[in-house]
Point group: C2
Chain length 334, copies 2
Amino acid sequence: MAKTISEIAEATGYSRTTITMVLSGRASQYRISARAQKIIQAYVDEHGVTINQTARNLKTKRSQTVGFIVPDIANAFFAHVTAHLEGLCRAEGLVLVTTSSLEDPETEKRAIDSLLARGVDGLVLAPCAPRPPEPSRKRGRNTPLILIDRAYPEDQAPVISSNHQVSAHLVTREMIAAGASRIAFLCGHPDNPSIQDRIEGFRKAVVEAGLSDEDVQLLSAPEDSAEAGHAMMGQLMSAAGRAPPAILCSSLLVLEGALKRMKGELGAVPRDVIIGTFDYDGLLEFLPNKVFVVQQDEEAMARAVFDLLLQQMSGQKAIKPGRTILETQLVHLG
Amino acid sequence: MAKTISEIAEATGYSRTTITMVLSGRASQYRISARAQKIIQAYVDEHGVTINQTARNLKTKRSQTVGFIVPDIANAFFAHVTAHLEGLCRAEGLVLVTTSSLEDPETEKRAIDSLLARGVDGLVLAPCAPRPPEPSRKRGRNTPLILIDRAYPEDQAPVISSNHQVSAHLVTREMIAAGASRIAFLCGHPDNPSIQDRIEGFRKAVVEAGLSDEDVQLLSAPEDSAEAGHAMMGQLMSAAGRAPPAILCSSLLVLEGALKRMKGELGAVPRDVIIGTFDYDGLLEFLPNKVFVVQQDEEAMARAVFDLLLQQMSGQKAIKPGRTILETQLVHLG
DNA sequence: GTGAAAGCGCTAACAC
DNA sequence: GTGTTAGCGCTTTCAC
């Protein structure tokens, strides 16, 4: 239905150059006659246009495209960041191409290469592994790169993340203040630097509260999943012979698994277990327990990422590999 | 770091053609000498390659890219379908480009045009509005199109969706069997054909169970959100002066809003309210209520979509605008 | 005011 | 066996 530039040129009798000029809004700059503009505009209004972006990209060496690599798009946190980032991109005429690395460094690397080969104008990466020393920047095309969520010490690009350490510290402190005399932290994926930050915050809070070593437990599992949470809770319960009075979970999936284990062994989740968790779910509110939730601000994160990215894409500033830390919100439910 | 074809040609002393042939694995077909292959392969192994996909796409008129338009990527159902679809695409060397329409037909149309202009080889659409009579198929490039989730009667492309009618019928029947003598269906977005199917299934079940008109209520709100659920539950409670004995919600968001209203007005969600809902959330299991959940099979949906898409992309079959209906699972919790 | 022409980096038919 | 060459559809400089 919609016409290509050549088709419009042929139909209106003008050259491709002229069509391009009026379509790109530079008609007056190139002194295209009002008459020509009107004829072309009328034709376009009637038939529509479709510019072959591939040809355009090849010529201009830009693609109006931003790549986004997340560990897992099915993870609610990343899905929300994606939604916000996509909205910001759309408003600037950019297309966001999101892809998952599945926490696999090899897949992540392939995704980076694939997006770079496709000529994305910018790349946002929630890394599942430390950056390779020499980032895959091909043929001098110095694609802007922003990292989010996880800060590896050796990162050579700007990083934007939530304040994992402080939020873990706060949530732990609140749980203790709410009566948690013993507390267990169930972590998925402990080599992830965000989790390490959380562990540090947790440790600090329990030390400050004067909890003794036997009142504090730190469990971890190699992956972030309900199964991992289920297994860790199993460990905890078989060691203590009962449900722990308070659990902090590194993710909703881990929490889900942990709750499932308690329900499985005890018939129900004891109402007096104090729960702390990272990332919000609308149904948390209806658990009968006391629940403390660390909520990241996905919208602020998307905005911070996008601002930095636009800056770099317009080449305004040199790339400075600093870290931007976003505050989180602690919500108390039930 | 990685080299372009021209760079490899220059460095190895072979022509671009020769390089292309060995890189595309058609070396023997083009009778490239073993020696040349070895030299080129060695160079590539050391330095890496990066083929400019833009140039390649322009020449070949394919992009190894599939477009996917969903109402909202932050919706867990679509996020899961996306994750599965992306995995299938990756396995075939395709990149999935996902974008949200935000339930806005205008945004949806722009998204379609944008993806088509970028030359996607296939398009998957969860439509938020009936297809336009003349689909935006530009310049004869007859891009395969698959519709999912929602079937509009006038659709001219294959549709894959869950069995919304039957699942609503079943869940309603089970709720009634579990003791729901009165039941309310809270629907977001009632002009969505999936919701209409569900309403039909619901109606059928209440008629079959012999519920009288005053025992059945059907509420709807123009959007699918927690706010809508909150408002509908408000209506329900102020009319009856108490919590309804059973509610069926068209989505998790609506359920969340409805529960929040009950909690707000009564201090807590009454434990004896029987709950029915569409789409699963890991925390549903820990509500103290009886909960019936209709679970769609996102993986099966992704697979069905992908199979059809591949068929069409390889031109094996004529496009027949039929409907594929996937079965759902009814889960009883609590 | 408008158009001709070069060329973006690749592929593939064809020539040698 | 390997290289030459003609484009893919667009943008943009420069000539008229």
